[in-house]
């Protein structure tokens, strides 16, 4: 039985060149389906990866109650002082609470890819800010000086936007700034930001001593509950307190889900279209070999070996298409840098990420197309009447 099937399968595969154009069209149409799917998934995964690598569960982020986003929030220096005294907050070697009050304004940058203006966050931070970001390092240059008009620029900003090279001076709105350094946070969303001294920002944008958010190092992830209880019992504090992981996960959700919800239906619709192509190809594969299959049947081969031979041909073409599509997307898209408007109303720079899970999903989709496309023609191959031996053509 096995050797029979193998023999029929080999005959099938050797006959592919007779239908090369149709077989090639099937391979490429399935490749395109997989490519579209993986393109969308790479976008969604890349965006999600950037935001989910951001934040740690022992950093608390505090905003004014009900404000939902840093941009909407407003807090005072007094409130920051109260947090510095709060329980559950970690302290450095000098016994200072590791707390950073921050304020960001949105400025215009020029996107390299489209040469259009796009929103960039210009974040005013204090000395504690770097220690509150995992994997923070200065890649090039140095930290800005307190009270200066110096900028420390995230790597992603430098990559996607014009004018942020080291040593360059740049005009943002009415003010002149000098780029003195570039920082990395290991691919997280902070790399899409420009940092400057908090006092300078408050001064230039007439914000007095107000801030938008307070980040604090927790003594342990669980300590956030102590902090919450403290804030609830303090009438001068009306805060929403989250750990950073939750905060960014919430922000990632919408956009990457949207991409997924767009990508899958499109890919499935295209897969159905390609299915028609695969079916057609396998149908003509059986059609042109009617006499050959009948001859094999006449000399004793079983119907099921003819069916399996057809099915294997279909699955093979589909798998080949899937691999071609996945490889093309990997070569063209993996690691490509792009940016979009994040929920903070500023640009989030991310890299397309072709993950093994997505590739696996793509190949499975291709095989489903191959299986469904080969199914009916395979049944037909199994039922070729023996009398077809005598057909003239």
């Amino acid at each position: 039985m096995f050797s029979q099937t193998l023999a029929v399968t080999m005959i099938n595969l050797r006959s592919i060149p007779q239908r090369w154009a149709l077989s090639l069209a099937t391979v490429f149409s399935i490749a395109l389906v997989v490519a579209v799917l993986l393109g969308f998934l790479a976008m969604a995964n890349g965006f999600r990866a950037t935001l989910s690598s951001t934040g740690s569960d022992d950093v608390a982020i505090m905003l004014r109650g009900g404000s939902q986003a840093e941009l909407n929030s407003g807090l005072s220096l007094d409130q920051q002082r109260l947090i510095e005294e709060a329980p559950g907050i970690a302290r450095d070697a000098e016994g200072e609470a590791i707390v950073s009050g921050e304020l960001y304004v949105i400025v215009d940058g020029i996107k390299r890819s489209s040469q259009t203006e796009a929103n960039l966050p210009l974040r005013g931070v204090g000395a504690a800010a770097p220690s509150l970001r995992d994997n923070f390092s200065i890649v090039e240059g140095r930290m800005f000086e307190v009270g200066s008009n110096e900028l420390l620029v995230g790597q992603s900003v430098q990559r996607e936007f014009e004018g942020f090279d080291l040593g360059q001076s740049i005009r943002l709105g009415t003010n002149e700034w000098v780029v003195v350094g570039t920082f990395s946070t290991g691919g997280s969303v902070f790399e899409s930001e420009i940092w400057a001294d908090l006092g300078t920002i408050q001064n230039l944008y007439q914000r007095g001593t107000s801030i938008q958010s307070i980040r604090a190092q927790l003594s342990s992830p669980e300590a956030i509950e102590e902090l919450r209880t403290y804030a609830e019992n303090e009438p001068r504090l009306n805060l929403d307190i989250n750990n950073e992981v939750e905060y960014f996960a919430e922000q990632a959700g919408g956009t990457s889900d949207l991409i997924m919800f767009l990508g899958w239906p499109l890919a499935i619709a295209m897969a159905v279209g390609a299915l028609a192509g695969a079916w057609n190809t396998m149908y003509s594969s059986v059609d042109t070999r009617m006499k050959e299959i009948a001859t094999l049947r006449a000399i004793g081969f079983s119907g099921s070996s003819a069916a399996i031979g057809t099915m294997v041909e279909s699955l093979l073409l589909a798998a080949l298409g899937g691999l071609v599509g996945a490889l093309a997307v990997y070569l063209v898209f993996d690691g490509i840098s792009a940016s979009t408007l994040g929920s903070g109303f500023t640009q989030v720079v991310f890299s397309f990420a072709v993950t093994s899970d997505a590739v696996f999903g793509g190949i499975i989709l291709a095989l489903i197309v191959g299986f469904l496309g080969g199914f009916v023609p395979a049944l037909r191959a199994a039922r070729v009447p023996l009398l077809a031996v005598h057909r003239s053509s």
Binding site: A21, T26, L32, G66, N72, M270, G277, N280, T340, L341
Partner: protein, 385 residues
Amino acid sequence: MNDLTLIRKNLFRKKLRAILLTFSIMIAFLIFGALGAFYNVWTAGVDLAAANRLITVNRINFTQDMPIAYYSRVQSVQGVENVSHANWFGGYYQDPRNFVQTFAVEPETWLSVYPEMVMPDDQRAAFITDRTCLLVGADLAAQFEWSLGDRIPLNSNIWQQNDGSSDWDFNICAIFDGAEETAPSNYAVFHYEYYNESLAFNRDRIGWMVVTTTGSDINDAVIREVDALFANSSAETETTTEAAFNKAFLEQVGNIAMILLSVIGAAFATILMIVGTTMIMAINERTKEIAVMKTLGFPSPRIFRMVLAESVLLSFVGGLVGLGLATLIVNGAAGALAGFLPGLSMPMDVVGIALGLMLALGLITGVGPALAAQRLSIIDAFNKH
């Protein structure tokens, strides 16, 4: 019987094959129609922008505000017809997830710079006189099931009142609709005075100004003059046409056009290959029949036209079904997406392009086989068998 009978019979000679091809063409046009309709709504802001409407924002970024004094200074610029101003309110209804797009505006001038907001005269008058009136778009009203005369609270996730509360009471005294179907009506506006007087902080600031000029030919002059007014101040301005402003905003999200084009391109490349190769095969199978037709005296150009008509017919059958389905889907989704993508419908220019694509697909997939059929030598065709 006529040529069309022959074309039809040839096309549907192998029923399953014809159905499968029709199906894959249908899918491609379904994708094209749906994405085309989506893209049309997505860029509606650019298309609907009035040619003589300008937007003035803070030069740092459009999220930065500017003093209210700017408003009256712009009014006096030559060539300016009307000016209005607005602030982003960041409103939500009952729950922060129920986002309501709300602006605090100068009511009377707002209606004159946006003449596409239409409503009955008595409601228009009520909106202008009633300080706590919320003028609600029809789509927005439908979404929250609000009706005329309702009193509702809106919360702001940005602004607080003097008393520390963030909920503002409104009286829905007017409901507007878009003059055109694609004009958005998924937002609400209310009196700047009501907003400004009760603010706890940031009083007397405006978010942006909307300027209409007396004619689009003087846009550039007005833009220069307005921005010159505030040069070297603490809040310099940047004025652009409404279309440019909307386009720049869409660009921030990403190159949506390119993503959609790639998907549509992939879908069409798929059917081009599938239909193209199948047509070649189908004509090959009929070599002898075509030779017989020629022997009977059918002229070669007529054979060429018949084969070409066959692929064009196939393309139109599949394409029209796909476009029809896309229209059904788009109309079905229009209600559900009214808040997010107002005015979703199948636009005529997408239909036009689709018809063009159907013709092109039919011609491209048919021209090779048709040429082969036209050039077919009777003797060679008979000798093959």
